[in-house]
């Protein structure tokens, strides 16, 4: 430690070196600190070049040490436990899907899982393990490649944080503190050791942050090679963060904010011509918008290219989409393109997981509307999903070869006859079985002859009169002629009498929702020429759009149930409750995701302390108080560097309060990284400040060194206490005095 603390105060390393970029603020601060430190201690003694070289070497050594410690902690006992832990069951499985090239659906963008799959593929995993449920043993399957990859990225977080804080504060002790907080945090450690998306996500977030900070430091040398390098690297990492999880959006917002304020400053600089400003703007649009967008799109291109076999995700997507997947029955199929009278069709609801319009020879039970044949939606393919399109006013067989083919057009009045039972799709003023405000839909009539309640107007969404209706591609709506209501599925499950299929209703509310929009999937008409479905294949932008819609809907669908324990955002910073990764009972190998309480509570305290000290400085500046040079430098570090980190913490934390979906403890970890960096920066600055204010006492010099040292040692000791949480515990639970964790259950809500 001595070189760190000594280096921090020596001042020489604070001076920007030749050929490197240095942020103006930090530079100013650095210079102030230097001069102040110099006047305080060693008046006018420039550091000899040899010592400067020594300093540089020491700095690299320190970085190496930090990285090494981080890797050592992350890779220690990485193979334990040799069974599936927690969400490995999802992400490992999805990695296997990539190796097996089967299509699946997930609410997160594909990059993270693709990388996991790639890591598995390169390390010799063959994709045959089923990843059925947590606790399943890996046996002979090679899982270390995937875990190792995640652990590698997780370990990289520490040096990244170290470099960010170093760049923001120009102080080695601050960076070292941050590194120690993260290295010794059991939560980060646990989260990095398994096949999860979080280490990948956090890696990209931190890398984006680092490159943003680096590029800020290059602001005085625009359009130089390092400037371009860091700017485009920021863009690349943004694409990575967004490509892993949608919460990557938060770091994009932060970078966006930083870019805006950056541009605003440039714009106010009258020495820059409009052409230069234009160049600045273009460079940012290029590197921070177009480049990430292109990369993000590219991940999807790869995703769809790799996953070309039918798999468990098919049903979530539209019929046209499914036609792309080999093994799906729509693949390479050929059907007539336009609907004509007499066609036999299946009609699929556009809402996810609702299924096909269906009817069967069972009546609605007594007391549920009219006692007529049930109409439902059904998720599986079945003969009862087939319907015949007929004209509303004639019952002649349109398939009679003597008659000309007549196409169904937008706005036509049709009748839909159920093929198996020859009853017409029918609706009337009776309330629907479950959704009382809607009308009931039934099958009615005998052999196709019914009444005027069987007439429906077929409408193609976004189409004018007269156009034909396309198979798969046309989004259609069926409007009941008499009541004016729209055929839809409420998505509610019918009771046993309805075979637990989904309710179909006719909704009088003419709002355009997906549940009242349908498309035609199968289409049989011997009089029409078949075309290959490839013609209908959706284009890449359409696929992108559709998969995003499905993902967003999937995310919104993850709603917590009432009587379930769910994690609330306010639980997280206080480390209220962990997540059980593995094992429950005292005989199991237990891993428990919980932040190191010492680090976390220090973070919490530091947030309050930061806000307090920052507002004191801000008010002082606003009041025009003349601060001594050194204090001014430190306050700049606190306000600018700390401000960036505080913004990062807020950006990655507060939006969760607005989210309706199920939340988990591990969602806090990106915010926690920022919070830890802020803590490191804050304590270093505060200790320097107190050392400065005590300058008249002989002990003053030690205050800073001792403070940093005790924080480092305290953190390390707490890690020693809590490390079993991450590396695994066997034996009695913590309530038991015989347990090694006895006495460490500081909150009753921790259950390890």
């Amino acid at each position: 430690m001595p070189p760190a603390a000594g280096g921090g105060l020596a001042g020489s390393e604070l001076r920007p070196r030749k050929g490197r970029c240095g942020s103006q603020a930090a530079r100013a601060a650095g210079r102030d600190v230097t001069t102040a430190a110099a006047t305080a201690r060693s008046p006018k003694r420039p550091a000899p070049p040899s010592s400067r070289r020594f300093e540089a070497a020491g700095r690299w050594a320190l970085l190496a040490l930090v990285t090494l410690t981080s890797f050592a902690t992350r890779f220690h006992r990485l193979d334990q436990p040799p069974h599936i832990c927690w969400d490995e069951t999802h992400f490992g499985k999805m990695g296997s899907y990539y190796i097996n090239r089967t299509f699946f659906f997930d609410v997160h963008p594909p990059l993270g899982k693709m990388l996991i799959g790639l890591a598995g593929y390169l390390s010799g995993y063959d994709g045959t393990f089923l990843f059925q449920k947590p606790g399943d043993n890996y046996e002979h399957h090679s899982y270390m490649g995937m875990r190792g990859f995640c652990a590698f990225l997780g370990a990289m977080l520490v040096p990244l944080a170290y470099l960010i804080v170093l760049e923001l504060s120009r102080s080695l002790p601050a960076a070292l503190l941050t590194a120690a907080f993260l290295t010794f945090d059991t939560g980060c450690l646990t989260l990095s050791q398994y096949i999860l998306l979080d280490p990948i996500l956090m890696f990209f977030i931190m890398a984006a942050m680092l490159s943003m900070v680096k590029y800020n430091s290059c602001a005085n040398r625009p359009f130089s090679a390092p400037w371009w390098f860091w700017l485009s690297l920021t863009g690349i990492n943004l694409a990575g963060a967004l490509g892993v999880k949608f919460v990557g959006l938060f770091i994009i917002l932060q970078v966006g904010w930083n870019t805006l304020s950056d541009l605003w400053h440039l714009f106010g600089d009258l020495s820059l011509s409009m052409a230069t400003l234009g160049k600045h703007l273009t460079a940012r649009i290029l590197c921070l918008i177009l480049l990430p967008l292109a990369l993000y799109t590219a991940t999807y291109a790869v995703h769809f290219m790799v996953l070309n076999r039918s798999g468990p995700g098919d049903g979530f997507f539209s019929s046209a989409f499914q036609a792309r997947l080999s093994g799906n029955n729509l693949h390479n199929a050929s059907i007539p393109e336009h609907l004509a009278y007499g066609s036999v069709i299946t009609v699929k609801n556009l809402r996810m997981a609702v299924g096909y319009l269906h009817s069967h020879r069972h009546f609605y039970p007594e007391g549920v509307g009219a006692r007529q044949q049930q109409v439902t939606t059904y998720l599986h393919k079945d003969y009862n999903n087939l319907w015949i399109i007929k004209k509303h006013n004639s019952n002649s067989d349109p398939l009679d070869p003597s008659l000309p083919v007549e196409f169904v057009r937008h706005g036509d009045i049709i009748r839909l006859e159920h093929k198996e039972t020859s009853r017409n799709l029918h609706s009337h003023y009776h309330e629907a079985p479950l959704t009382r405000k809607h009308y009931q839909v039934t099958g009615y009539g005998i052999n196709g002859s019914g009444d005027s309640n069987d007439f429906w107007r077929i409408e193609v969404i976004n189409r004018k009169f007269g156009n034909r209706v396309k198979v798969l591609r046309s989004r259609i709506r069926l409007v009941h002629l008499v009541t004016g209501c729209v055929l839809g599925s409420s998505g509610k499950v019918l009771p046993k009498w309805g075979w637990e299929q989904l309710e179909v209703t006719c909704t009088p509310y003419l709002k355009e929702t997906l549940s009242s929009i349908w498309n035609v999937e199968d289409h049989i008409n011997p009089k029409l020429p078949n075309i290959s479905l490839d013609v209908l294949r959706p284009s890449f932008p359409e696929i992108m759009l559709e998969s995003h819609m499905v993902m967003i809907r999937g995310n919104n669908g993850l709603k917590p149930k009432d009587n379930e324990f769910t994690s609330k955002p306010w639980h997280w910073p206080i480390n209220f409750q962990g997540l059980r990764f593995s094992g429950v009972n005292d005989t199991d190998f237990r891993v428990y995701l919980l932040g190191n309480p010492v680090v976390w509570w220090l973070n919490l305290l530091s947030l309050a302390l930061y806000i307090l000290s920052a507002s004191i400085f801000a008010v002082a500046v606003q009041r025009g108080v003349r601060l001594p040079a050194e204090v001014k430098g430190l306050s700049q570090v606190l306000l600018r560097g700390g401000g960036q980190l505080l913004l990062g913490w807020m950006m990655h934390y507060f939006p969760f309060f607005l989210m309706g979906r199920v939340l988990y403890f591990h969602h806090y970890f990106p915010a926690m990284l920022f919070s830890s960096m802020l803590t490191g920066l804050l304590w270093d600055t505060l200790l320097r400040l107190s050392a400065w204010s005590l300058a008249s006492y002989p002990l003053a010099r030690c205050v800073h060194t001792l403070g940093i040292l005790s924080l480092l040692l305290g953190t390390a000791y707490s890690f020693y206490l809590f490390h079993p949480l991450a590396y695994g515990m066997v034996g009695p639970l913590a309530q038991d005095p015989r347990s090694p964790m006895a006495g460490l259950r500081w909150l009753e809500s921790w259950d390890f």
């Binding site: 605003w264 714009f267 009258l270 405000k437 509310y509 009432d562 379930e564 324990f565 409750q577």
Partner: protein, 725 residues
């Protein structure tokens, strides 16, 4: 000595006739034929029932907003001598003669009328001309949607009134800041700002957005004040303290006051009691209080109790058991213990009674003196009617297979031992030796063998369980959740040794005597929490709309239709005003960005004071529109057109501001200026014309023919009711 007599006593009165005239026409437009239609119009059916509750002093719970708005409406009823006897069940129902329709609708109408001169004042205080100010007031006056909304027993116009009042008083305050800080006038407007803000929040939660806006502007001004180095530190501190007290502390206090009055007024138990905790219910007159009055406070071994789940979702219910057993095999093929069912039952029933038993003794009666049960004690719970013991074991629960089944133990002699010991965990204890108290204590039952926790899973059981709610032993303990917490509601000391006597005893009502009072803060926090968390079923509505429909008025709401003729009332805005207000907002935003960028390059198009005026007008008016509009995109509840009205008012205020700015600064030549004035006059005339055309749908006073109605349907998305004869 008598020097003051040397000068005459002079009273100088300055009357702004503009204001007087505007107030007069405002009143006329809002109060004209106020009692017509004498029938329930739209949401009056909803607010009316709460007015009736106030009149009858019956407690209710309404999640839609804090009580101040309801209380204001009820004040109208009180002044009109309403006795609360009206069945609010159907829109369009004729009011009976005891309903003072006029006075019920008076307060919203007055608020709507006064908003007109207030618009004038705001624009004037913003530093714009009397002409612009009059324009703003006239636009408010002829805006049909505002007229409709304020002529009925609805809350939006009151909300708008307080929103405007908050903005106006803040402006007056900040204008007097320049001349005479800490003068009585300064204090008056500052305090009024705070009070108006809390009134707005007290009417609807969305009022909080305007409050935040005012707070934001005040914070920026305060920040400038801090930067003002001509002021001494002490003076700055005084300024900040005054603002903090008036804009933060005072609104909180006023908000609490609303609840205090609300709870003071509503002291009788009513239909929503069930949602509240037992302690809250016991504080109301009648209802549970009558039942629990005089129960022993401390639960002792041998006590007979009913246990209510604190969470009470989906419905409030009591721990229950009955003779039936779990089916041997469930439908999905899993097996059960086939022991007696334990459920949660939402109705009072003799089978809800349990006896607290000391595991070490056999008796089921209370000793003399009673031995109270304390936190940490091990107890058994005996079901009163069947004398079976509450039990849980490592068998999957019927519907929540990850949790343990809870049953009343039957010994089948199949080596499944009873596991019926529970440790009492008092959640809201003050010390570890606390005694288990009726109603007040919230307790958890932790199973001794498996450390599972007795929990209401809330899933209704199938027919074999009589659709009662499932109760499970939760093994995966993830910390505190209200569904694992229970409290004793009814309680008596058991006296009878024999089962037959005991059954009689269980059927008899409880007795003895204790009194318990909840503090106001406890009642407030519970009520507020329940109001925020109570879920209204998000039913779709024929006239619900999305925020995107609002900006250009793509939707309307039919409020009322005359039972015989086609006279009808619609919430339908003045399209010209809506469209031009939206346009003005856009123009403002573009101009603002343009000026801002130019200023950054040191090109000042506007003089400094004009620029500051322009920014402040934008912050309050465009900002007011944004904060009252944009949050709706994030809301998941059913939205209606009237939710847009507060935002619209701010937009209307911005409209003359933008017009005056264009006239003053962008029209270079005299010719352009006259042309522009002519355009504005033409535009205003058309707005008046539109307003007049839509008047029959606003007041509902005239029955239009079907062809006239069809002619009024200017947009396909408007739903105007046309009778088919």
């Amino acid at each position: 000595m008598l020097g003051f007599l040397q000068h005459p006593v002079v009273v100088t009165a300055e009357v702004n006739l503009n204001m007087v005239a505007l107030t007069a026409v405002g009143l006329l437009s809002r109060l004209w034929q106020l009692a017509y239609p004498r029938a329930v119009v739209f949401d009056e059916v909803y607010y009316g029932q709460y007015i009736s509750f106030y009149m009858k002093r019956i407690f209710f719970l309404d999640g839609s907003g804090p009580p101040f708005g309801h209380m204001l409406l009820a004040l109208g009823g009180y002044l009109g001598g309403f006795d609360g006897n009206f069945l609010w069940n159907r829109i369009g129902a004729e009011y009976s003669s005891n309903v003072p329709v006029w006075s019920l609708r008076l307060l919203p109408a007055l608020s709507g009328a006064l908003s007109v001169p207030m618009a004038y004042e705001i624009v004037w205080e913003l530093g714009f001309s009397h002409c612009a100010a009059t324009g703003a007031a006239l636009l408010m006056l002829i805006e049909n949607a505002l007229i409709t909304q304020s002529r009925l027993m609805l809350l939006e116009s009151v909300l708008i009134f307080f929103n405007l009042l908050a903005v106006l008083s803040y402006l007056k305050f900040s204008n007097s800041q320049k001349h005479r800080p800490f003068s009585p006038r300064w204090w008056f407007w500052l305090v009024l700002t705070g009070v108006a803000c809390s009134c707005a929040v007290g009417i609807k939660y969305v009022g909080v957005f305007t409050y935040l806006l005012v707070l934001g502007v005040a914070a920026v001004h305060a920040w400038h004040l801090i930067g003002d180095q001509t002021l001494s530190n002490v003076r700055v501190l005084c300024h900040l303290l005054a603002r903090a007290v008036a804009l933060v502390v005072l609104p909180v206090l006023v908000y609490l006051l609303f609840f205090y009055i609300h709870l003071l007024l509503l002291y009788r138990s009513g239909p929503h009691d069930q949602i509240m905790s037992s302690a809250f219910q016991a504080s109301l007159e009648g209802g549970l209080a009558r039942v629990t009055q005089g129960q022993p406070l401390e639960v002792a071994f041998g006590s007979q109790v009913t246990l209510k789940n604190v969470f009470g979702q989906p419905v409030p219910c009591w721990l229950h058991s009955h003779q039936s057993t779990y089916p041997m095999i469930y439908e999905n093929g899993r097996g059960s213990s086939h022991q007696q069912q334990v459920t949660c039952y939402p109705f009072k029933d003799v089978n809800n009674w349990w006896i607290v038993k000391d595991p070490g003794r056999h008796q089921l009666v209370v000793n003399n003196p009673p031995r109270p049960v304390r936190h940490g004690d091990i107890v058994q719970l005996v079901h009163g009617m069947t004398t079976r013991l509450l039990n849980t074991h490592d068998v999957a629960a019927p519907l929540s297979p990850h949790a343990q089944e809870v049953s009343c133990y039957i010994d089948y002699n199949i080596s499944m031992p009873p596991q019926n010991l529970w440790r009492l965990d008092i959640v809201n204890r003050e010390s570890d030796t606390d005694v288990w108290k009726t109603i007040l204590s919230e307790v958890r039952f932790v199973h001794v063998n498996t450390s599972a926790i007795l929990k209401l899973s809330g899933v209704p059981l199938p027919d074999w369980g009589f659709r009662q709610l499932e109760v499970v032993g939760e093994k995966q303990f993830w910390g505190y959740h209200e569904s694992t917490v229970w409290n004793v509601e009814e309680h008596r000391y058991g006296r009878s040794q024999e089962q037959k006597e005991r059954e009689l005893e269980l059927h008899s009502p409880t007795q003895a005597d204790i009194s318990r009072n909840l503090s106001f803060m406890a009642r407030f926090s519970e009520l507020q929490w329940r109001m925020l968390t109570v879920r209204s079923d998000d039913s779709e509505h024929k006239y619900s709309s999305t925020p995107l429909d609002w900006v250009m008025l793509d939707t309307n709401i039919a409020y009322w239709l005359h039972p015989r003729t086609s006279a009808q009332i619609h919430l339908l805005g003045n399209v010209v005003i809506w469209a031009s207000a939206s346009l003005a907002t856009l123009v403002y935003a573009l101009l603002f960005i343009w000026y801002l960028l130019r200023r950054r390059r040191r090109a000042c198009d506007l003089p400094e004071d004009r620029w500051l005026r322009w920014v402040l007008a934008g912050a309050l008016c465009a900002g007011g529109w944004a904060v009252n509009y944009l949050p709706f995109f994030l809301m998941e509840k059913t939205l209606f057109l009237y939710h847009y009205l507060p935002a619209l008012t701010f937009q209307i205020l911005l409209l003359p501001v933008v017009l005056e700015h264009i006239g003053d600064h962008l029209c270079r030549s005299q010719l352009q200026r006259s042309l522009f004035t002519a355009l504005v006059v033409a535009w205003f005339t058309s707005a008046c014309h539109v307003s007049n055309m839509l008047r029959p749908l606003t007041y509902g006073d005239r029955s239009l023919s079907p062809s006239e109605l069809k002619a009024l349907r200017w947009k396909d998305s408007w739903d105007i009711l046309i009778r088919k004869y």
